[in-house]
């Protein structure tokens, strides 16, 4: 706990970033509606291009992958400042920047990196994630989508589900079973599949929030070149674990800052509409202040640990599980408190925070349910015996 302050270089980085954000953000167009996926793709990729042109794209990626090789602390400052300034969310670039990109950067060949990474950083190409299947959600390794070798191609058939951004994606990071004869973790491979390949059918799924932010995907004898496999054949599980450690690492940093901003806005709203006089609600907001302050400190703790370990941007997956368990719960409590602040307006979908409340229901499910995360914490950190 020696130091929570930033070095002069880090403060200079922060000041330059603030200045740039102050220059560009006022000129941004209005955000498209949550359901306008082509509009959102255009908006998100335009923002990514601006980041690229200003030298902020792939900040925490290694330099030889086209990134800036920034320290975890600089990455943290970047996420903190962009969120504080109200800059656009990573949006449709999420999988490319935080999953597929880092995986290709770590596990891909030189040719694969040259082909796939620059378009992600420039905002030219969008990726989606083809991991989950109807029969393989939390037990991801039991996936059934088959890939059979035919010369220099794999022929892929099966079904994926919960595929965010599938409608607007150019590429899919796809997990397939390449050897059904071996134990389930050992027969999986990681492929990059074009979304416009013949045999790919995308059907949007309507969420409880009323939107179509994700889809199911049917694969009918889709031909994927063998050269689009990242990592060795049947080594896809290990490759995937690399991806997931990124997902559970810094993926939520910006959102903690966003939650602190929302909490301050809730307090202002409550003071304006008189709800602040309710001591139960006021104390709930006070408690949430403690939660999000502490979650921010826990992030700094994890990032410092990663920085000491020399990791580039990621944090250990188990520390990420501890963080995600509390964060996903606190964020749901935040929007429950928002409904209390809104009172009668809490049922008005056009009021701020009402749609967020619906969306927040996914946080304890997506990226590993809270129950699975608790198993991870109990078995891998506390050393309790494996269950059946």
């Amino acid at each position: 706990m020696t130091d929570l302050s930033c070095t002069p270089e880090e403060e200079e980085f922060r000041a330059r970033l603030r200045e740039w954000l102050g220059d560009v953000l006022p000129g941004l167009p209005a955000e498209p509606s949550p359901d306008d996926w082509p509009g959102r793709r255009a908006y998100d990729t335009a923002w990514q291009r601006m980041l690229y042109d200003a030298g902020y794209a792939g900040l925490h990626w290694p330099v030889d992958a086209g990134g800036r090789g920034a320290t975890p602390t600089q990455h943290l400052i970047f996420l903190e400042e962009t969120e504080r300034a109200g800059a656009p969310y990573v949006g449709a670039n999420f999988v490319g920047l935080l999953h597929a990109g880092p995986t290709i950067a770590t596990e891909g060949t030189a040719g694969q990196r040259a082909r796939w990474l620059p378009p992600v950083l420039r905002g030219d190409e969008i990726w989606c994630q083809g991991f989950s299947e109807p029969e393989a959600g939390s037990d991801l390794a039991s996936l059934r989508t088959r890939a059979v070798r035919d010369g220099d191609h794999y022929v892929v058939s099966g079904q994926k589900i919960w595929t965010s951004h599938a409608e607007v994606a150019d590429w899919c990071e796809l997990l397939v079973r390449t050897d059904p004869a071996v134990p389930k973790h050992r027969g999986i491979s990681w492929l990059a599949m074009r979304m416009d390949a013949p045999g790919v059918t995308v059907r949007p799924l309507r969420t409880l929030a009323g939107s179509t932010e994700f889809a199911e995907m049917f694969l009918d004898e889709v031909r994927v070149p063998v050269s689009h496999r990242v990592g060795a054949e049947n080594d896809g599980w290990r490759v995937t674990m690399v991806t997931l450690s990124f997902e559970r690492g810094t993926a939520f940093v910006g959102e903690v800052v966003a939650c602190r901003r929302t909490l301050a806005a809730l307090a202002a709203e409550a003071r304006a509409n008189g709800r602040w006089d309710d001591p139960v609600l006021r104390r709930t907001l006070g408690r949430l202040n403690a939660e999000f302050r502490a979650l921010w400190r826990l992030t700094q703790w994890n990032v410092s640990e990663a920085q000491r370990a020399g990791a580039a941007g990621g944090v250990p997956g188990t520390g990420g599980s501890v963080f995600k368990l509390r964060y996903s719960q606190a964020r749901q409590e935040l929007y429950d408190a928002a409904a209390e602040v809104l009172g009668a307006d809490g049922a008005d979908l056009d009021r701020e925070w009402v749609l967020d409340r619906l969306t927040s229901l996914s946080y304890t499910i997506a990226a590993g349910t809270s129950q699975i995360q608790q198993n991870i914490v109990a078995e891998r950190i506390l050393g309790l015996p494996k269950g059946r």
Partner: protein, 317 residues
């Protein structure tokens, strides 16, 4: 930014852990419990000799010259082993009350409106009344104990309590002691003890869950038990980040958040640890009730949940 323990801090923590294991191990704790000893003056003196109380005094004044982060590590270790006594008050009085720094004087604290812990063992009493911090010793203290103090049957067998009425403006102002800073630091050190207790009850629960078999397997293999233990770790780690950060910044709102989360971690972890122990957990022989009772007591000291939440709410405006 490098928000991790330094090598010196790790060494300090290991040193105090070793000292406490040698001087106040489980057998010594249970012996104190059976004998009804609340402050063991030999242990108190040894802590003093090791710099526990003089930790933050400048070296020129015979202290160790370290800061709040290091003090938090020591208090976390004290919380782990259920070390009884008015540790925070004596630590905060070091340099201002004669003998406190060396561990020769036991200093209790009177926080207006709350029961006083360890009054019977105290050589000096610090009274925090309104914005003032005053110190009572000798005849004035004896007069107060005789006249205005009434013993309370304490929830925690290792922490005797007195109710003190009419805390008149007795005694002399404590040198260098503003009430706000005194309260802030007392709150933080108490949160550190809660953190230590929360971490210790995880170890106790995990150890039991690994060894105890039911239905042919260790109970720790069952998800219901696993999830209790996992949530214990999540609470303790969030509290740890909050307490350590508050020690670095000394910010009053951050300290309030740290106390709130550390109280919750200590109390709820002890309850969950008791649940994991099953019927054994409800017995006097298991140590878990001692952690829970102390955690409940500390949750009512320095800054309660209601006070912390109001302070954190006020910070939002």
């Amino acid at each position: 930014m490098d928000f991790q323990l330094s090598d010196d801090q790790r060494a300090l923590r290991a040193g105090i852990r070793e000292l406490l294991a040698g001087r106040f191990g489980r057998d010594r704790m249970r012996a104190a419990l059976d004998a009804g000893t609340d402050v063991d003056r030999v242990v108190w003196g040894e802590l003093g000799a090791a710099g526990f109380f003089a930790l933050r005094l400048p070296e020129a004044e015979g202290g160790v010259g370290l800061g709040l982060p290091e003090a938090v590590l020591l208090f976390e270790e004290a919380g782990r082993v259920l070390l009884p006594g008015p540790l925070a008050a004596t630590h905060l009085a070091a340099g201002a009350v004669k003998g406190a720094a060396e561990g020769g004087t036991v200093v209790a604290v009177l926080d207006e409106g709350r029961p006083v812990a360890h009054l019977g063992a105290a050589d000096a009493l610090i009274a925090v009344v309104g914005g003032e911090v005053r110190v009572l010793e000798g005849a004035a203290l004896r007069a107060l104990v005789r006249g205005a103090a009434r013993p309370v049957r304490s929830l925690d067998p290792l922490t005797p309590l007195h109710r003190v009425t009419a805390p008149a403006a007795l005694g002399d102002p404590l040198p260098g002691g503003g009430a706000a800073r005194f309260r802030r630091e007392g709150t933080l050190l108490s949160a550190a003890e809660q953190l230590g207790s929360a971490a210790r009850t995880i170890e106790m629960a995990v150890q039991h869950a690994r060894g105890r078999e039911q239905f042919g397997s260790p109970i720790g293999a069952f998800q219901a038990v696993k999830h209790l233990c996992a949530q214990m770790l999540v609470r303790a780690e969030l509290a740890r980040a909050a307490v350590y950060a508050a020690a670095v910044t000394a910010d009053p709102v951050e300290i309030a958040g740290a106390k709130l989360l550390a109280d919750e971690a200590a109390v709820r972890n002890a309850r969950d640890c008791l649940q994991v122990h099953g019927g054994m957990g409800f017995t006097w022989e298991a140590d878990v009730h001692l952690h829970l009772k102390r955690a409940w007591l500390r949750a009512g000291q320095w800054l309660t949940a209601a006070e912390a939440e109001e302070a954190l709410a006020a910070d939002l405006c």
